[in-house]
């Protein structure tokens, strides 16, 4: 059985159908913004104490606050001795829906670890920033918490990230740091789900 959702037609009043009153209203809105801003810009430039003009975030100079959970540019985490945390288990490569992670595994020189990535490449052109690689990693070796959102490039191969690049994206963060335990400046409250469920009964 196929059920369909009927498209609901919006009933227009006569004033809306004739179009001109609505056009007029629209024009009034934009004119309001135009003249308010014009007055404030001119007032400010001649030194009057007008309210600041309504402006959006002036992007390159001002930037929005980015949540610690924002999925930005990838990075590879390091062990305290500077070796990659990655154990070349291929979990991320398998999980990646875009198949844009290419790992070549090699035998690790460290006796306690079996493998390490000889090459670890991410084709950022194909990546859809889903974060599944981060979820899949059993070693917390790959993260997207760099907060870097500007990675435009002039050539395609500049967006083909290799292991060295990924290990050095944010050197000051590169050793094993925890996720920032606060949101918007407030410490995150840990919610005990079991307790919550008991209370609500």
């Amino acid at each position: 059985m196929i059920t369909v959702q009927p498209v609901r037609q919006i009933k227009l009043t006569l004033a809306q159908k004739t179009y001109y009153p609505e056009l007029w209203k629209g024009l009034m809105v934009t004119c309001d913004h135009f003249f308010t801003n014009l007055f404030r810009h001119i007032g400010r430039s001649v030194g009057m104490k007008t309210k600041p003009p309504m402006v959006t975030i002036q992007y390159p100079e001002e930037q929005r606050w980015i949540s610690p959970r924002w999925r930005g540019l990838h990075r590879l985490m390091l062990r305290p001795d500077g070796a990659p945390r990655c154990v070349a288990c291929m979990m991320c490569e398998t999980a990646c829906p875009d198949k844009c992670i290419y790992i070549t595994a090699g035998e690790s020189p460290d006796g306690r670890i079996e493998k390490y990535p000889v090459a670890f490449e991410i084709d950022l052109l194909r990546c859809c920033f889903c974060g599944l690689c981060v979820e899949a990693c059993p070693e917390d070796a790959i993260r997207m918490d760099t907060g870097i959102v500007e990675f435009g490039a002039f050539r395609r191969d500049e967006l083909y990230l290799d292991r060295e690049f990924l290990m050095n994206v944010k050197p000051e963060l590169t050793t094993h740091t925890q996720y920032v335990g606060e949101l918007d400046g407030r410490p995150l409250q840990r919610v005990d789900l079991v307790k919550l469920a008991q209370q609500s009964h």
Binding site: G26, L27, T30, H33, N37, H41, P53, V55, T56, Q58
Partner: protein, 367 residues
């Protein structure tokens, strides 16, 4: 003889430079105005030695970019027509202005000079004729690009422009019936009369419906939003897709020049041309030029101040209409193509015809 020639060349230079500068400034106005009304700041990046001139340098940078950009010709395109199309888009716009008076006749070197290049009895037919010439530009651009999408874009453009051309023609008939002339100069002079002794007899007051039809139709002629279906480049492929650099710039400039010229046409037809209400010159008022207000006050003025006031009034009106067209362009969403055609043929056309009929009846009844 030589003086006549000099006067004509002077007028051409004034008109040409006026339109070109108007169009150049409009590129800046468009960016700044749209920015202000959507709470942005607008062009403010380009600078020369740190001087930004409120973003005017950006327009200069745009021009330099357009000149030095690769001049691309589609490999299988028709070279000659491809080069010709932008000229066809520019030329009609510039020559349209020739019949529009931009100021009152002045006395200079012992002779009367009309501030109007061509004094033609069929002035408005000339405007309409050259208005429809612009279709060739878009059509040729689509055809010569040898790109099927561009061709469809060109077809779309010409269908739209021809449809709205008809509305333009029908809307003009209203004021022409009322003022009884097709000559722009005479039409402007006729608009300096007063209705019932106080209301200026401007086209917009005696023919408001014609104005409401002419404005959108002329905006559709300029192919600008909300009628920018021929060239919404990033969404629907338009006729100018295969153009780059200065050739594309000519389409772009022609469009802005069209805004200036249409502002002038609208001013001439509906806003009383260069006239200011209650301001009369020596020819119209025996007791000398000046303001004669209906409540009795008078401000006598010299001949030259009247002339300069009138030229300034013409420019202000054109500037206001340019501003209005920009404001409309940045306020309204684009029509869908079927809506666009429906508005023209099924809604504006009957209203235009009705307007002509009613106007004719009223004029018959008044006589």
């Amino acid at each position: 003889m030589l003086l006549d020639f000099g006067i004509i060349v002077g007028k051409i230079a004034i008109i040409f430079l006026g339109i070109l500068n108007g169009a150049g400034i409009l590129t800046w106005v468009e960016r700044k105005q749209s920015a202000l009304m959507s709470d942005r700041i607008g062009a403010n990046r380009a600078s020369i030695l740190g001087i930004k001139l409120l973003g005017l340098i950006n327009s200069l940078a745009d021009a330099i970019k357009l000149i030095f950009k690769e001049d691309f010709l589609p490999p299988k395109g028709l070279r000659f027509l491809h080069a010709l199309a932008p000229c066809f888009a520019m030329f009609p716009v510039f020559v349209t202005f020739a019949v529009l008076p931009f100021g009152p006749p002045i006395e200079l070197f012992g002779r009367e000079i009309k501030l109007q290049l061509l004094n033609m009895d069929i002035g408005f037919l000339y405007i309409l004729a050259f208005g429809s010439m612009a279709v060739y530009g878009t059509m040729l651009a689509g055809w010569a690009s040898n790109n099927k999408f561009s061709l469809i874009g060109g077809m779309r453009a010409s269908a739209q422009m021809i449809s709205y051309e008809i509305i333009l023609g029908l809307a003009i008939i209203g004021p022409v019936l009322v003022f009884g002339t097709l000559e722009p100069g005479a039409l402007v002079t006729a608009q300096n009369q007063l209705l019932w002794g106080w209301l200026p007899k401007w086209g917009i007051i005696v023919q408001p419906i014609a104005f409401l039809l002419f404005l959108p139709a002329s905006m559709a002629e300029t192919k600008r939003a909300p009628f920018d279906l021929p060239e919404g480049e990033s969404e629907i492929i338009g006729f100018a897709t295969e153009y780059s650099g200065m050739r594309w710039g000519m389409f772009f400039l022609g469009e802005f020049a069209e805004i200036v010229v249409l502002g002038a046409v609208l001013t001439t037809l509906f806003l009383g041309g260069y006239h200011i209400p209650y301001l009369f010159d020596a020819a119209e008022m025996a007791s000398g030029p000046g303001f004669y207000f209906p409540w009795g006050a008078t401000i006598p003025l010299g001949t030259w101040s009247v002339v300069s006031l009138r030229v300034a009034a013409f420019m202000t009106k054109v500037a206001f209409l340019m501003w209005l067209q920009m404001q409309i362009r940045w306020t309204f969403p684009r029509f869908r193509y079927d809506q666009l055609m429906r508005v023209s043929w099924r809604e504006m056309m009957p209203i235009a015809l009705l307007n002509i009929g009613v106007t004719g009846l009223i004029i018959m009844w008044l006589n």
